[in-house]
Symmetry: C2
DNA sequence: TATTGTTATACTCTATAACTATA
DNA sequence: TATAGTTATAGAGTATAACAATA
């Protein structure tokens, strides 16, 4: 945004480690993008009577059933939170708790039909995001997908 | 991810409007990226004794003082939330409330020295993000910055 | 009248610690 | 002993509604 170029990078390995201060401008852009996406997602979730955390949980469960502990790891929160979040989703019939056949300690959370419908409606309702994506070319979307996958998804499944 | 290609796009304008279902895979990637970035940010914030929301507020204030109402809009939350968030940041000396010279209803929130130091430390502490960014080439970072800016920042300042 | 910021309220999220039941 | 899930607790975030001060 300034004369120092959008991709400047202070390559000072102050303590012998890797590059410490990498690209302030890009960090700003990533941060702002996250806040915008968060806003669009929260708006769409509220329209379904869901909180941000509930929406995240439902979205993860689109990929298949998951144990409570696994959900906590994926959502970067303590396992005790998941109990309440799943409690509330289960009370609305959006998910079910099923016993694991292999480990009687484990409860697998399964996305119910109503939950699947709600999360699909939510995803379709992220209008600002969809409109922005429509403004990119096919090639640009492929590039973005590739870069973001390398940045955030590839490593170990979300840092 | 599947045989349907990473950039497929169901171009069905079901109700005469714009393209409704755009790129499920890319939405997934964006969502996962947001969750990962959120996780890294929260971890770095916790190390500074800050919550995610407090960190977002401090980061916005890096760009200069802002009225309460403006902070609420930028952070996509109700104005009544900001009162509490700024209360807690002010109690720790991270921000100050200053009266607006032009409108006696308005209070401008100013980043204090300790707050500026805390947010810079926080940003430097987002190790997972920095390491990921270091793995991209200069050109790739420029491309990512450009694409994200068009997607999320350019429009109207965060949707 | 409309807007800015605050307060009161109720609900949700969040981490910590302690607990039960399994492994 | 270690792990999965729950409960209790306290602090923080969140939106709604009502309010005072100012425009």
């Amino acid at each position: 945004m300034s004369a120092t170029s959008g991709t400047s990078r202070s390559a000072q390995a102050s303590d012998g480690g890797h590059l410490e201060v990498s690209n302030t401008a890009l960090l700003d852009t990533l941060w702002a993008s996250m806040v915008s996406l968060y806003g669009d997602l929260t708006t769409a979730a509220t329209a379904q009577g869901l909180t941000y955390s509930q929406a995240k949980a439902l979205n993860v469960l689109r990929q298949g059933p998951a144990p409570m502990r696994s959900l906590a790891a994926t959502l970067h929160c303590d396992a005790s939170n998941i109990t309440g979040i799943i409690d509330r989703l289960e009370a609305r019939g959006f998910v079910r708790r099923e016993p694991s056949p292999t480990d009687r300690r484990v409860k697998n959370v399964v996305l119910a039909e109503d939950g699947a419908a709600a999360v699909e409606t939510l995803r379709a309702g992220m209008h600002a995001t969809h409109e922005s994506l429509d403004a990119l070319s096919e090639e640009e979307r492929a590039t973005l997908q590739s870069l973001l996958t390398r940045l955030f998804v590839a490593g170990d499944g979300g840092f």
